[in-house]
């Protein structure tokens, strides 16, 4: 496979403020990459740089083997879909779809052919002669996707396309975008702050913070082996439980309060002995039992039981430390119940306290 987008040493400063710092990303042809992060992390800014809507300070952007660092947005071979749809209100749907093609001075029959094809794929045929004001949110976003589609380009850029839709429509269109991707097989770069969208859509996710990519990896790895504390805390809801303690016995065990947890089976690098370390365990990787299991375990008291329908969240207190555990519905326990917690070390992550990197 060949590279579709290459970002080389991209830096963007607004005055003295550094917004994007020395970024390097390669996106393969046909790949679906999601830029994920909290607001202000620079993910939309990066997308705007790719589109050519922002001039970068340093570095280069290559698309399809061409240096497009200083090219006009329309000359980069990209299509873009915006959060607010950004449909031209005074034009009909057909006018919206064909505006870009008319600017390229494309022959009329070719425009008609492309509009027809896009409206067939997106099932917006009956809407073609309406104005955007007469469409629902979901329909508008379909038209916005259509506008990228008619350009017949290899790279699609999505800037939080589903954020303005309600939850039901969002999941519908999410599936549709996925279907579109497998059908067209083109490169997609997709910005979102919604981790469900990221985890379901992406081939790879780039988690960003403060203008720096924290981790760029497939969803599975991001979820199971977050490369640092930020990624670990940002991905997953409710958040990963973090236990502050130290590693002892040459890295064979983790000391948390008075409890010693065996680290045998930890999937990571050399643990060594560290005075300060953080053990991260996701809520679904903790088991709850009434009786103390054979090995070492952590005693805790149930404080709140949050029923979510399919499963349930138990908020517990182990000493002064608050923990959250996801249990099946039949494992629900009333508040005040004393239990013992067992941790699934094979799926846990251990972080160095200072560098915040995963060990």
């Amino acid at each position: 496979m060949t590279k579709s987008i290459e970002v080389k040493d991209l830096t963007l400063n607004f005055g003295s403020v550094s917004v994007l710092k020395n970024m390097n990303i390669d996106v393969q042809e046909g790949e679906f990459v999601v830029l994920l992060g909290p607001s202000g992390c620079g993910k939309s800014t990066l997308l705007n740089c790719l589109a050519g809507l922002l001039d970068i300070t340093e570095g280069q952007i290559w698309i399809k083997g061409k240096n497009v660092t200083w090219s006009e947005p329309s000359a980069r071979g990209i299509g873009m879909v915006f959060q607010s749809y950004a449909l031209y209100p005074q034009m009909t749907v057909r006018g919206n779809l064909s505006f870009g093609l008319k600017n390229q001075r494309m022959p009329k029959d070719e425009i008609d052919r492309r509009v027809a094809r896009a409206s067939e794929i997106l099932q917006i045929g009956p809407l073609l002669d309406r104005k955007p004001g007469a469409l629902s949110g979901g329909q508008r976003q379909r038209v916005a996707i259509g506008r990228a589609l008619v350009r017949d380009v290899d790279v699609f850029l999505f800037d939080e396309p589903l954020s303005n839709l309600d939850a039901k429509l969002r999941s519908e269109l999410r599936v549709e975008i996925k279907r579109l991707h497998s059908k067209l097989n083109n490169t997609m770069v997709y910005v979102t702050h919604d981790q469900i969208e990221a985890l379901t859509l992406a081939d790879r996710i780039a988690v960003m913070k403060g203008g720096v990519i924290q981790q760029l990896s497939d969803p599975q790895t991001i979820y199971n082996k977050p490369s640092n504390l930020f990624v670990a805390g940002f991905i997953g809801s409710p958040s990963m439980n973090f236990l502050h303690g130290k590693t002892v016995d040459g890295g064979k065990a983790f000391h948390f309060g008075d409890h010693k947890i065996d680290l045998a089976g930890y999937d990571g690098g050399a643990v060594l002995e560290r005075d300060q370390a953080i053990l991260g365990v996701r809520p679904e990787h903790i088991t709850v039992s009434h009786d103390a299991p054979a090995g070492p375990s952590i005693p805790a008291v149930v404080e709140i039981d949050e029923h979510l329908g399919a499963d349930s969240l138990l908020w517990l207190k182990a000493g002064t430390k608050e923990l959250c555990v996801r249990v099946p519905v039949e494992g629900r326990l009333p508040a005040g119940t004393k239990v013992h917690l067992g941790l699934d070390i094979a799926k846990a992550s251990l972080f160095d306290n200072k560098t915040e990197q995963r060990i």
Partner: protein
């Protein structure tokens, strides 16, 4: 948030029962009484103008300026339009009217075109220093015109248009620029930026986006600007006096010269007819435009 707001709005809608509001409550009589008296003060001059302008001179001399005419005559209007004398000529206000029209049309078009493009460039195509120029522009609108009067005379003379209508058109374009640019900048910045980005991805350039995207979306603000400029330029006096020759004086200057001319017998009815005629264009614009006029003047006050 929504839960707490709901009962409050309910209690605001359902009257509590202790204080039923009657139309003729003391409070309302006071309120409307004051407003009506105030409105009389505002209407009075218009009333006086109209009444005086349709009376004959004998009746004006006899009577009360507030009283309606016994006998209506439109002779003063005819005279004001075509015969009234300034110190220089006696062709009435018509000359000034047509001069004003000739000044107004190009000034309004040019100033709106320039300012709308400015506003658009300031919002969507910022370049290094564009905000500095905008700030100077806004602060420049506070500089007394008197400070710039003479340098502009020199400028116009160098360009060879001093004393011509085109010189005045240029002056109106320059001095209309701050307020109009502010108006358009504020309006364009309320248009989602993503729309502009989408158009760029679609390959539209500076003028393409201006004409095909921005312009069709901004008709209301163009109307506001139009109202602002028509009334503003029509009412101008100072620039008309300074930058044109007597035969090209706009209507306001012509009016002042007619009414305040020291020669001959004062014909108050003709003077009021002339005053009313001069005020008619902005008044018509004002009464037709309604709330848009308010929006226009408020735009000058609300700093973006």
């Amino acid at each position: 948030m929504a839960d707490t707001a709901l009962p409050m709005t309910k209690s605001a809608v359902v009257p509590s029962g202790t204080k039923p509001r009657r139309i003729l409550s003391g409070r309302n009589i006071m309120l409307y009484g004051i407003l009506i008296v105030v409105c009389l003060y505002y209407i009075l001059p218009l009333w006086v103008m109209v009444m005086t302008s349709v009376k004959g001179m004998p009746e004006v001399r006899l009577g009360n300026i507030f009283a309606p005419p016994v006998e209506i005559t439109f002779q003063p209007w005819v005279k004001a339009w075509s015969e009234a004398c300034t110190g220089l000529n006696c062709d009435g206000l018509s000359r000034g009217f047509w001069n004003s029209v000739q000044i107004l049309i190009p000034s309004v078009i040019l100033s709106i075109v320039v300012a709308s493009v400015n506003g658009y460039a300031l919002v969507n195509w910022r370049f290094k220093g564009s905000d500095v120029f905008f700030t100077i522009l806004i602060f420049g609108s506070f500089i007394p015109y008197q400070v710039m009067l003479y340098p502009i005379v020199i400028l116009l003379r160098e360009m060879g248009i001093y004393g011509t209508l085109w010189g005045l058109v240029l002056v109106h374009t320059i001095f209309g620029m701050p307020i109009l640019t502010l108006l358009f900048r504020n309006y364009f910045s309320s248009i989602p930026e993503e729309l502009f980005k989408a158009a760029r991805v679609d390959g539209a350039g500076f003028w393409g986006i201006y004409f095909r995207i921005m312009l069709p979306m901004s008709l209301p603000i163009f109307v506001v600007a139009l109202i602002l400029q028509v009334t503003g330029i029509w009412n101008d006096f100072l620039f008309g006096v300074v930058y044109t020759k007597p035969e090209l004086y706009p209507m306001t200057v012509q009016l002042n010269n007619i009414v305040n001319s020291v020669q001959g017998v004062k014909e108050y009815n003709v003077n009021m007819a002339a005053t009313l005629l001069t005020g008619l264009v902005p008044l018509v614009v004002y009464f037709i435009s309604g709330k848009l006029f308010v929006r226009g003047i408020a735009a000058g006050a609300v700093k973006g």
